[in-house]
């Protein structure tokens, strides 16, 4: 049982490049979340999904896009990478609204 799997673990991008951060879960959870965490700071919600086909913006959605075509996958897309998007990105899931979240190990992204 892998839980929440994020790939890649590390990535360096040049300004203006695009990439997709992958998040896959095998727990059949409906709720999935993308957070970013800047050095020494707390987590900020980027986007979330309450089920396949349904996504919604969080606190800091600008510069990102998401899709949720299946229950298992919730990819996060950066279209035009900017230095301000250098951060650690965490994906999380939960079973029902009052259950705790399960987090992946994160993707460390640097944009130079």
């Amino acid at each position: 049982n892998a839980g929440v799997t994020q790939t890649p673990k590390f990535r360096i991008l040049k300004i203006g490049q695009s990439m997709t951060l992958q998040c896959t879960q095998d727990m059949n959870h409906n709720y999935m979340y993308w957070y970013r965490q800047d050095p020494g700071m707390g987590l900020k919600l980027i986007y979330y999904s309450v089920g396949a086909g349904i996504t919604d913006k969080g606190e800091v959605p600008n510069g990102y896009n998401v899709s949720r075509s299946t229950t298992e996958d919730f990819p996060l897309r950066l279209e035009l990478a900017a230095p301000s998007q250098t951060s650690v990105y965490f994906c999380a899931t939960r079973d029902t609204v009052n259950q705790p979240q399960h987090f992946g190990d994160g993707t460390r992204l640097s944009i130079l």
Partner: protein
């Protein structure tokens, strides 16, 4: 959004009890309070969750007063491995409201 406020940092010694308080004045009627622990280079890990009064599990206790405007995470007899950042999160019951993590409390346990 239910905003949370926690102390930025705390220091303790091995074997002591540590209490971390989180303020959440705007908590909604159906919100739950959840605490997470985060080590460097790892994702947050669930510690404990509660709605009111007191909850206890094998690693911590959570105290919530009647007005629910604050909560206190209690870690009994901490060890060096409890050095981490602790986050208080107020969670919605619908799943559609954005979840807000505060800046967390950095706990340093000394030998």
């Amino acid at each position: 959004l239910a905003k949370t406020t926690q102390p930025i940092s705390m220091d303790s010694y091995e074997g002591q009890e540590v209490n971390i308080t989180c303020s959440h004045n705007n908590i909604a009627t159906n919100d739950y309070i959840t605490w997470y622990q985060q080590f460097p280079s790892q994702g947050p890990r669930f510690i404990i969750q509660g709605y009111k009064t007191k909850v206890t599990n094998e690693v911590a206790s959570l105290f919530i007063p009647a007005d629910r405007k604050s909560s206190t995470l209690s870690l009994p007899r901490v060890s060096l491995s409890d050095t981490a950042v602790y986050y208080c999160l107020v969670a919605t019951d619908t799943g559609r409201r954005a979840l807000t993590f505060g800046s967390g409390t950095r706990l340093q346990v000394q030998p």
